[in-house]
Assembly symmetry: C2
Homo-oligomer: 185 residues x 2
């Protein structure tokens, strides 16, 4: 599952794959559990095998969902994981999920041991960077309706799995507006 997915980024040697695999630990969590609370330092990177979760933070007393994670995603609080500063966001399970966790220390050790693993991660970063760039452009330069239509096209399954309120804040729209957009289409 994990190793399979990793091949999409960069093919590793058998040895590196085996060592990498050994560094991950399975984590099973229930709906509404938390992977991370704001204020805590995020020390792990997770691979989401099955399930769904979201990252959100509190702004003016309201929960703002700013990303979702689904099957085959790598998830973490990037800012906190990279800088080892306290997280500003919470990561909450939206469904019962199976995850695989690796600590930052173990990952660093893998980088030292295997150039190819660092390459894999470098390439993964490139892809994640491009994704984020697209989302940024959407946020800044498209209307609420366009953003919703974009989501419909690229990840329609989100709409079936996630409550409207979360989707609205993910798109940067109020729940009421999103409801009206939907009724218009």
């Amino acid at each position: 599952m994990l190793l399979n997915h990793i091949r999409n980024y960069y093919p590793l040697s058998e040895e590196a794959q085996a060592t990498l695999y050994d560094c991950f630990e399975q984590v099973i969590l229930n709906k509404n559990d938390y992977l991370l609370h704001e204020g805590k330092i995020c020390r792990h990177l997770y691979f989401l095998e099955k399930g769904a979760l979201r990252g959100y933070y509190i702004l003016d007393g309201k929960e703002i969902t700013h990303w979702f994670g689904f099957e085959q995603d790598f998830v973490t609080s990037f800012h906190s994981f990279i800088t080892q500063a306290p997280a500003v966001e919470n990561i909450q399970l939206l469904e019962g999920s199976i995850l695989w966790a690796i600590s930052k220390e173990k990952l660093s050790r893998l980088f030292n041991q295997y150039h190819e693993i660092e390459r894999l991660v470098r390439i993964a970063y490139e892809k994640y960077y491009i994704r984020l760039e697209e989302r940024f452009v959407n946020a800044q330069f498209k209307s609420a309706t366009e953003r919703y239509e974009g989501l419909l096209q690229t990840r329609p399954y989100i709409l079936e799995r996630i409550p409207l309120g979360h989707i609205a804040s993910y798109l940067g729209i109020s729940q009421e507006t999103l409801s009206r957009i939907r009724s218009r289409l």
Copy 2:
């Protein structure tokens, strides 16, 4: 200059530094020249030693500036450079500038030769990723006035060097609105 800046990310061995340095070529361009035209494939990564430039694309017949580059920035059309697909953006000089260019092929060769250089780039990606994430949050969840105030605080020098119209579209605001925001403050 370049080598000096690179130390902020990750310290390289003397040998790696020398080899890296040899791979860069100086490029000097004038105001209003283009580093990249949309539709072309971006084959180089640039380090901006002195000057200023912007990335913009055309939307509904209007120029949308979506980033600026200044001294000490690495610049390229990331999407095009990473995927080697035609660029959707133009990169235009806003001032006469001194740049250092490295081709994608040379960079790949450096990655193979020196694990430490790939590490450097991996770390650079992390920093750029975090920066972009912040900008995304600003775009999605802050008002025009808040975005302008944020820019005032973090990079006030932009305001002196860049025409208002470019700044407005960078912030995702119309020029007229930005002008009104300024007069209110």
